[in-house]
C-alpha cells in the first residue's frame, strides 16, 4: 500500500493528512513561530494515529504559507491549488471556494478540481480570521463562541470602520454606549462577510460555493456570507484540513503519473527530524 502525506502550514494552524485510498489520519495543531519543529511533531503524531512510520510514506507535499519550511517534504505546492484539489475530493459540485484563514482570505474558482482563477487579500487584516480574533479578545468572548453568540443578536449593529484597529475602537465605544455584545458580533461578522464578498465576487462566482479555513468553523460568519452571496454555502466536515488533504492527493497524483511511465518521482532525501534552523 502506498501512503501520501500533505502538510499545510498556515499562519495559525498546521495540518497534516495521510491518505492511501482513503484518509488514514488527519491532525491539526497550532503553528507558532517555529514551523519546522511543529511540522515535524504534527507529522509524528499523524503517523502514530495512522500506525505508520515515516519510511512508509511514498510521497510528501507541503503547502500553506510556511510550505518552504518543511525540509522533509518532497514538493511544495501553493495552498490555492491544494484547497481546490482537497475540496473537489470532498464536495465535487463546488465551483467557487471562499477560504478565510488566519492572516488572509481568498476566493478560488475551480473546475474539475483545477484552479481556474483566484483572488487573494493578504494586505489587510480586515476580512481575515485575525480580525475576528482581535475583536473577540476585545469583547472578552472566546473565539469559538462568537459565531453562536452572533446568531442571538436582535439586530446587526453596523461597524463602519474598515480598519481592524479603528474597528476595535469603534466596538469598544459602541459597547460603552450599551450595545449588546451579540449585536456587535453580528455587525462584525457582517463587516467581514462584506469585505470577503467584495473580494470573491471578482471571480464571476458560480454555485456551488463552499467555505473553508478557520472562518468556516464560525457559524455566524457562514450565515453572514450566505446572506451576501444570496445562497446556502457548503462547509466540508473539517474545513481546516482541505489544504492538507489536497496536498496529499496532489502527491498521490504526482506519484501515479510517474508510475504510469514506470518511474518514481525524486524524493527530498530528508529524514523526519527536527530542522537545525532553530538550534
Amino acid at each position: 500500500m502506498d501512503y501520501f502525506a500533505g502538510v499545510d502550514i498556515g499562519s495559525t494552524m498546521t495540518k497534516v493528512v495521510i491518505v492511501s485510498d482513503r484518509i488514514e489520519a488527519s491532525l491539526i495543531g497550532p503553528t507558532g513561530p517555529e514551523h519546522r519543529k511543529l511540522a515535524n511533531r504534527v507529522m509524528e503524531e499523524a503517523l502514530r494515529q495512522a500506525r505508520l512510520t515515516f519510511e512508509d510514506l511514498t510521497y510528501i507535499v507541503a503547502t500553506g504559507y510556511g510550505r518552504i519550511n518543511v525540509p522533509f517534504a518532497d514538493r511544495q505546492i501553493t495552498e490555492i491549488t491544494c484547497h481546490a484539489k482537497g475540496l473537489h475530493s470532498l464536495l465535487p459540485s463546488v465551483k467557487t471556494v471562499v477560504d478565510i484563514g488566519g492572516q488572509d482570505s481568498k476566493g478560488i474558482k475551480i473546475e474539475n478540481g483545477k484552479v481556474m482563477n483566484f483572488v487573494m487579500n493578504d494586505k489587510c487584516a480586515a476580512g481575515t480570521g485575525r480580525f475576528l480574533e482581535i475583536i473577540a479578545d476585545s469583547l472578552g468572548v472566546p473565539l469559538e463562541k462568537i459565531g453562536e453568540l452572533s446568531l442571538t443578536a436582535q439586530k446587526i449593529a453596523p461597524v463602519s470602520s474598515t480598519c481592524t484597529v479603528f474597528a476595535e475602537q469603534e466596538i469598544i465605544s459602541r459597547l460603552a454606549g450599551g450595545e449588546p455584545i451579540a449585536n456587535l458580533m453580528a455587525g462584525i461578522h457582517d463587516a467581514v462577510a462584506t469585505r470577503v464578498y467584495s473580494l470573491v465576487k471578482k471571480l464571476n462566482v458560480e454555485p456551488d460555493i463552499a467555505v473553508t479555513g478557520g472562518g468556516a468553523k464560525n457559524i455566524g460568519l457562514v450565515r453572514a456570507l450566505e446572506s451576501k452571496f444570496g445562497q446556502k454555502l457548503l462547509v466540508p466536515p473539517e474545513p481546516l484540513i482541505t489544504g492538507a488533504l489536497g496536498a496529499a492527493l496532489m502527491g498521490k497524483d504526482i506519484f501515479e503519473k510517474y508510475a504510469a511511465e514506470g518511474q518514481k518521482p525524486t524524493r527530498s532525501g530528508h529524514k523526519l527530524e527536527e530542522a537545525t534552523f532553530f538550534k
Partner: protein, 443 residues
C-alpha cells in the same frame, strides 16, 4: 528540498550598458553649469524631448532619479522628508521622493544631499511640465517642485488627445487636438528660448525629430524579435532597456543602443537561446509600473519557466508608418501628430469590439502577436492615474476576449513598505499553477 531554484538563464549583455546611460543622465545635470548648459526638471512622455535636445537643454528626469533611489532601496529618507511637509504617502511616490530630495538640497543651500544615490541630480534652471492625460500629478508636481525652488521658472504645457468614446470617431477631432498641441509646443520653445537666451535651430530640431522617428521604428523592430519562441528577452530586461527610448530620445546614443540590442537578440534567436530553459509559459506584463526595489521578481518568474515576451509598460512608441502621420514640414506639428496618433492608436480596433477599450485592445493585440498564455498586472498604489483602472482592464479583458489566467500583483513603484516578498512569491506560485491548469485545459 527536492525542488531546486534555478538562476536566471539569460539576460542581455546590451542591457548591462543601461546603468551608464542612467548615471550619464544624472551626471550631465551636475556638469551642465560648467558646460554652460541649462538644466530642465523634466517628465517622461511629455513630447518635449526633441525640443530640449535640439536646444542643448539637459533634462533632469525626476522619475528616473526616484526609480534609482527605489532600486537602491534608499528612497525612504526622501519620502519621509516630503511627508514632513504634508505630502501624503498615497501621492505619486516618484513625485514625493523627488520633492523630498529637492527639499533637502534646497535646505542645504543647493548642496547635494549626503549619500544621494549615484551622486544625485543637479538643480534645475527651469521646470518643464506637461499636464497631459497620462498622469494626473503632472499638473501639480511641477508647481510643487517650484514651491521649494522659487527662483526657477516653470512652464506647463497641456497636450491632449481625443478622449475615448466608442460612439465617436476620433479621427474627426484629431486636427483640432494636433493644432492645440502644436501651439503648446511652440510656446514651450518660446519659454526655452527665453530661459536659455538662445534661438531654436529649426533645422537641428527637424533632424532630431527624424532621429527620434528612426529610434521609434528601430525600437519596435527590436522588440518584435521577442515574438520568437523561446523569447530572447524578458520584461525584466525591458524595464532597463527602455531607458534610451524614454530618457534619451532624440540622441544618437539611444539609436545606437537599439542597434546593438537588435543584433544581440538576432544572435540569440540564431543560437536558439531563450530567457528560460525550458520556456513553459509566456505571459504579458499587461499594465503597471514595476516595483523598482523588487525587479528580482522577474527572475523569480523566469526561474519557474515563465517569461514575459512583451509588456505594455514603457513601450511608449509605435512603428511610425503604422501611425500613418500626415506629411508636414513643421517638426512641432509632426511631434503633435505623432503624439495624438500614438495615444489613439488602438481606438479603431477597440471600436470594432463591443465592450472593449483601447487599453484592453492593445493587450489583446500583444497577447495574440506574442502568443501569451496569461497576463500579469501590477497595481502600484501610489500611481492611481494608471493603476486605478487595472481591475477594470482585467475584467474587460476576460469579458471581451477570453478567460485567460490573470495575476494582479500589489505594491508600489518606490515605497518598499507596501511590499512583502513572501506573499508576492506565493501569489506568483499560485498563478503559475493556474497557468499550468489553463494550458492543460487548452490542450
Amino acid at each position: 528540498m527536492a525542488e531546486e531554484k534555478k538562476g536566471r538563464a539569460v539576460a542581455t549583455t546590451t542591457a548591462a550598458k543601461i546603468p551608464k546611460f542612467v548615471r550619464g543622465n544624472l551626471s550631465a545635470t551636475l556638469k551642465a553649469k560648467e558646460e554652460g548648459k541649462k538644466v530642465a526638471a523634466a517628465f517622461i512622455a511629455d513630447g518635449q524631448d526633441e525640443i530640449m535636445r535640439a536646444m542643448d537643454i539637459v533634462p533632469a528626469w525626476g522619475e528616473s532619479f526616484s526609480g534609482v533611489c527605489a532600486a537602491k532601496r534608499d528612497a525612504e529618507k526622501y519620502l519621509q522628508k516630503a511627508e514632513s511637509d504634508n505630502f501624503s504617502r498615497s501621492l505619486c511616490t516618484y513625485a514625493t521622493c523627488n520633492i523630498g530630495f529637492d527639499m533637502i538640497r534646497e535646505e542645504q543651500g543647493g548642496a547635494m544631499p549626503e549619500g544621494a544615490p549615484w551622486g544625485g541630480m543637479g538643480r534645475p534652471d527651469m521646470i518643464l511640465g506637461n499636464g497631459q492625460l497620462l498622469c494626473d500629478p503632472r499638473f501639480k508636481w511641477p508647481q510643487a517642485t517650484q514651491h521649494y525652488q522659487r527662483d526657477v521658472p516653470v512652464f506647463v504645457t497641456n497636450m491632449y488627445y481625443p478622449p475615448w468614446d466608442p460612439n465617436v470617431d476620433h479621427h474627426d477631432q484629431e486636427a483640432i487636438y494636433v493644432k492645440y498641441a502644436t501651439e503648446e509646443l511652440r510656446e514651450t520653445v518660446k519659454f526655452c528660448e527665453k530661459v536659455t537666451g538662445k534661438k531654436m535651430d529649426w533645422d537641428r530640431l527637424a533632424a532630431t525629430v527624424e532621429l527620434s522617428d528612426k529610434t521609434w521604428d528601430l525600437f519596435i523592430d527590436t522588440y518584435e524579435l521577442r515574438k520568437h519562441i523561446p523569447t530572447p528577452m524578458d520584461t525584466g530586461d525591458a524595464m532597463n532597456t527602455m531607458v534610451p527610448l524614454t530618457f534619451n530620445l532624440g540622441t544618437q546614443e539611444a539609436y545606437d543602443f537599439y542597434v546593438d540590442l537588435k543584433a544581440e537578440l538576432e544572435q540569440k534567436i540564431a543560437d536558439g537561446v531563450g530567457v528560460a530553459d525550458p520556456e513553459k509559459y509566456r505571459v504579458i506584463w499587461a499594465a503597471g509600473l514595476p516595483s523598482w526595489f523588487a525587479l528580482g521578481d522577474f527572475q523569480y518568474f523566469n526561474s519557474k519557466g515563465v517569461v514575459f515576451p512583451v509588456e505594455v509598460t514603457y513601450r511608449g512608441c509605435e512603428k511610425v508608418e503604422r501611425l500613418d502621420l500626415p506629411k508636414t514640414t513643421d517638426p512641432l506639428e509632426h511631434i503633435a501628430w505623432r503624439w495624438v496618433r500614438y495615444w489613439t492608436h488602438w481606438y479603431d480596433a477597440a471600436r470594432k469590439r463591443p465592450g472593449s477599450t483601447p487599453k484592453v485592445e492593445r493587450i489583446i493585440e500583444y497577447i495574440e502577436d506574442y502568443k501569451c498564455d496569461g497576463a500579469v498586472f501590477h497595481s502600484a498604489f501610489s500611481c492611481r492615474s494608471w493603476h486605478a483602472g487595472i481591475m477594470q482592464q482585467a475584467a474587460t479583458l476576460k469579458n471581451v476576449y477570453k478567460d485567460i489566467p490573470i495575476l494582479i500583483m500589489e505594491g508600489d513603484i518606490v515605497d518598499i513598505s507596501s511590499y512583502n516578498e513572501a506573499d508576492t512569491h506565493n501569489r506568483i506560485d499560485a498563478f503559475i499553477e493556474t497557468l499550468a491548469a489553463y494550458k492543460k485545459r487548452q490542450g
